[in-house]
Symmetry: C2
Subunit: 207 residues, 2 copies
């Protein structure tokens, strides 16, 4: 056990609900300092077991969105991000603005052709889930995860969405149900929503 993970363990114990019950209200509601959050170091991140989720960015235009996907992927220990087609790659100052260093932790690779990548991932047994609005999409709340399965979540261009050919090559299509006037959510928000939902279903978490 490294010094880092020891201090993380202590922190988790300190934050245990039963300990909290014996605290006064003021102590309980105290905001945690950054060094009390028990976050991983870059080295610990690299060696930590990852969530069986891969993210595929299919021709994402916005550098802010790319950076934000990195930041979300760091938080949920995403295995790898594939940056496809026109999607820019780190290092880039506008990716850094929203990634805030998470390009140094999350594994990533550039792939020119999204279809070729997907076919390769399928050979490796990865289940391909395009996040799109199609006729028979599975609504996110109804999507059930399977044990011992690795998922690739494909997010598409801000205007055009996931390419139809990529949708056709996917194993399933997941849609975030939406009830208002706009056609879609921002892609970095969509990524957060879908990753959180599937992460929660994959991994029973402790309080």
């Amino acid at each position: 056990m490294t010094e880092q993970s020891q201090s993380q363990g202590k922190n988790l114990i300190l934050r245990d609900a039963s300990t909290a019950l014996s605290m006064t209200q003021d102590q309980v509601m105290r905001k945690l300092k950054n060094n009390e959050l028990g976050r991983l170091s870059i080295d610990d991140f690299k060696s930590t077991k990852k969530t069986p989720i891969i993210i595929v960015l299919d021709n994402i235009r916005s550098l802010n969105n790319i950076g934000s996907v990195f930041r979300t992927s760091d938080a949920f220990l995403i295995e790898k991000i594939y940056l496809c087609g026109i999607t820019a790659t780190p290092p880039h100052k506008d990716i850094h603005k929203t990634a805030l260093g998470s390009t140094d932790t999350v594994a990533w690779e550039y792939a020119e052709d999204t279809i070729e990548l997907i076919e390769k991932l399928k050979v490796d047994g990865v289940k391909i889930c395009a996040i799109e609005q199609v006729e028979s999409a599975t609504m996110l709340n109804n999507f059930e995860v399977e044990n011992n399965t690795k998922y690739a979540l494909v997010f598409g261009n801000e205007v055009k969405g996931v390419q139809q050919t990529v949708v056709d090559a996917s194993d399933t299509v997941i849609e975030i149900p939406q009830y208002g006037t706009k056609h879609s959510l921002n892609i970095s928000v969509s990524c957060g929503v879908v990753v959180w939902d599937i992460f929660s279903k994959l991994k029973p978490m402790n309080s």
Copy 2:
């Protein structure tokens, strides 16, 4: 029934899973055009029953984040957004860039003092949930919603988070569990994650 909601009804029928089963794979995976998504008109949005969630933005600095919260709020029929302290208000071209018109649908109001607003909401019976990292926070996955309860979700400044005095005045604190190296998620991503999670728990949705 308006013409809009009639066409929405037809669209929902068209997308029924049993209909989809009789389609060929190509038809089933066909991406939907914007006019097939059954989205509401602005007028229909105004009169539609809202989700019992209010969003409170406590001193948000980034105009992109504010706009993105509007877009997410449109998608999940959020009742109202309160823009507090230094949080900028529409109309503003940099809010519009990410809100994409949702400032015309989602109800909003400026409140100078977040604490005063929270005390007023509490008098109205609204349950105040700060989204923060505190000693005894309830992890989002463990947060249970109550029936017939309206929630105000308070999101804080990009650097400082929700003010300690606002945390102290809240009924409960919800934390998004995070496992990587970074201290927090982007605020528009956090908003998407928490709104989706609570929305899913509040409202049993159809496929």
